[in-house]
């Protein structure tokens, strides 16, 4: 069963008298364990698709099932719950809370998941160790480099053991070498079974994934495996 299944999903924003069709009847399926990039120019609808997939927004028409759950019919609190348990977010601007240390930032999703206090610490530490930040637990964001901050974000995203990791331009604010180390973390997470969907406009980054879905004018223009994925298939 597909983890993400969009069926003829449309999203329309009313801007005064003008209706903006951000997505037009998009159908899409992403299976568990896939490593997938969504690309497109600005205004192509990729951000809207990302918001819908991330349950931050609901489609105007159409049906969206995440892990079999018909999320397009859920209320805002139920969606918050889905985001909390099923999805991890990685943002271009990190969005770490400046007054909290790395470990406190990572513990934040567990607060909303009602994870018992006794487990929060150890799980946060494990999560930070997974991204190679086991020695930076008590640093505040302003005491960390950009790459380190993004790794804290990833640790925060995976701490509730979500089914889907959703990354919005995760390397957009980083230099190429740091970008590579972040992508390496994604690759290893994906190998461990995590489904990854990444929105990017950087073609080189997209090619690190297995599948690239290109949007244009609110529709899927192309949906094909990357050369890397094809090579991997041939080699196996």
């Amino acid at each position: 069963m597909a983890l993400i299944k969009l069926r003829r999903v449309s999203k329309t924003y009313g801007m005064g008298n003008v209706e903006v069709h951000a997505l037009r009847e998009v159908s899409l399926a992403i299976d568990p364990g896939e490593y997938c990039a969504i690309v497109g120019a600005s205004g192509s609808g990729k951000s809207t698709a990302m918001n819908l997939i991330g349950c931050l927004d609901r489609p105007t028409w159409g049906d969206y099932r995440l892990d079999g759950i018909p999320v397009s019919t859920l209320g805002t609190d139920a969606l918050a719950d889905i985001r909390n348990r099923k999805i991890g977010f990685v943002f271009q601007q990190f969005y770490l809370l400046p007054q909290l240390t790395a470990i406190e930032n990572v513990m934040l999703p567990m607060v909303y998941a009602n994870v018992p206090k006794s487990q929060r610490r150890s799980r946060a530490i494990a999560s930070l160790q997974k991204v190679g930040l086991g020695d930076r637990l008590h640093n505040r964001p302003n005491q960390l480099s950009g790459g380190q901050q993004q790794r804290v974000t990833i640790a925060r995203a995976i701490v509730n053991r979500p089914k889907l990791l959703l990354a919005d331009e995760p390397t957009g604010a980083l230099d190429s070498q740091t970008s590579r180390s972040i992508l390496d973390i994604f690759t290893s997470l994906n190998r461990a079974g995590m489904t990854l969907v990444m929105v990017t406009h950087n073609e080189a980054v997209a090619q690190q994934c297995d599948r690239v879905i290109t949007f244009r004018d609110g529709q899927v223009l192309s949906d094909r495996p990357t050369a890397k994925a094809v090579t991997n298939l041939m080699l196996n």
Binding site: N51, G54, L56, D57, T76, D77, A80, D81, R83, N84, R85, F89, F91, Y95, L97, P98, Q99, L100, L108, P109, Y112, A113, R156, N160
Partner: protein, 399 residues
């Protein structure tokens, strides 16, 4: 978490709390000051003596020119009649005052000359430091003797013994027979700058007889009831007697009889209003403090839009955000409240040290202002919290 957030912006948190601090401090200090004033006034009235009735000429209703103590409707004969005819009364002391110059050799001072009778001692409950008070013989024979207030004695004689010495009041010679122990001051009037002389001597030699009066007028008649329970009976009987004597058949009273209880009640009603007004004023400053909190929390919501968006993206529900902001504002209000209570209690201490008021710390005022500031935080935190909870995570993150 909330404490950390507030701690991250100490200046702003501090300024926000300032309103609540001032509010709480003023509630506690104002209520204490009001109650202290109330106690002070009560104590002053009690120092006038218990069971005492004060009869003054004039009426309270007749306007300022003929107000209490200014009219000339009360006479020495009235006082004698009260003493003779009103059974509920034990002692009667008529009083006639005038401020005059008093000299002894080269020393001189201004003093309140009180013409009165020996009954002044039991009625006004004074005690003597030296010598004796005016005697019945002094009164009947109109002897030129004087009893000095403690301050007047000090001014004129210093360390010298005044008993037996001759002083002059308006060039009339008096022999000093006693010194009254210090009475302090009542309502700001010094009771120790005084010379007591027999009332007949005062009338004959100092003030002179008034034209057309068969009996000299007095400014005040103080009478003590036989028992505490007979004070109101005495008040009634005195009123009847004086109405009869003054021929007031279909007219209003031209005198006022007030018991110490009446004065206490009047004072209590005034000071009650004082306490209330102070309380309201302080309450308003607490309200202003609450609005300050709301203002800052609204700014904080706007400023932390991204944080709210992030929290929502990772799973915070509206209620979680709402609770977070409400708790922050309650913490601000409660910490501000605690500091305010500290400031209030300190200022009560200062008040006690610097004024004659002995202000007590009112536990109920503390409890009320603490509760009020806590609920102020809650109430004024709700609107900003609601704002925060309703933010759309997408919009919030992109801001």
């Amino acid at each position: 978490m909330a404490v950390k957030t507030l701690g991250a912006n100490k200046l702003r948190s501090g300024l926000t709390m300032l309103g609540i601090i001032i509010g709480n401090a003023s509630v506690i200090a104002m209520v204490a000051a009001g109650q202290a004033a109330q106690e002070f006034v009560t104590r002053e009235f009690e120092s006038l003596g218990t069971n005492v009735l004060f009869i003054a000429p004039g009426s309270a209703q007749r306007g300022p020119t003929a107000g209490i103590g200014r009219a000339d409707t009360l006479t020495l004969a009235d006082a004698e009649a009260i003493a003779a005819e009103v059974l509920a009364v034990a002692e009667v002391s008529p009083e006639k005052n005038q401020r005059l110059r008093v000299t002894y050799e080269t020393a001189q001072t201004q003093a309140n000359i009180i013409g009165t009778t020996p009954d002044y001692v039991p009625v006004r409950q004074i005690s003597l430091a030296q010598g004796r008070f005016l005697s019945p013989v002094d009164s009947q024979s109109a002897l030129p003797v004087a009893v000095l207030g403690s301050e007047t004695a000090q001014t004129l004689f210093g360390k010298q013994n005044p008993i037996g010495q001759k002083i002059r009041v308006s060039n009339v010679r008096f022999t000093v027979v006693g010194v009254v122990a210090s009475r302090g001051s009542t309502f700001g009037q010094n009771q120790d700058e005084t010379v007591y002389v027999p009332i007949q001597v005062m009338v004959n030699q100092l003030t002179g007889q008034e034209v057309g009066k068969t009996s000299p007028t007095v400014q005040l008649i103080a009478a003590s009831a036989r028992e505490a329970t007979s004070a109101s009976a005495a008040q009634y009987q005195i009123t009847n007697l004086l109405r009869l004597r003054h021929g007031l058949l279909n007219k209003e009273d031209d005198f006022v009889v007030q018991s110490q209880q009446d004065l206490l009640a009047t004072a209590a009603s005034i000071t009650d209003i004082l306490v209330q007004v102070l309380g309201y004023t302080a309450g308003i400053s607490l309200l202003v403090g609450g609005i300050g909190i709301m203002n800052i929390m609204l700014v904080s919501v706007t400023e932390r839009t991204q944080e709210i968006g992030l929290r929502k993206a990772i799973g915070a529900k509206g209620i979680d955000i709402s609770v977070q902001f409400t708790i922050e504002s309650i913490i601000l209000a409660v910490i501000g409240g605690l500091i305010g209570i500290g400031v209030g209690v300190t200022s009560i201490g200062i008040l006690t040290l610097t004024t004659p008021l002995s202000a007590g710390i009112s536990l109920s005022a503390i409890a009320i202002s603490f509760t009020v500031s806590g609920s102020t935080g809650l109430i004024f935190g709700l609107l900003p919290a609601r704002r925060a909870a309703q933010l759309d995570p997408i919009v919030a993150l992109r801001s």
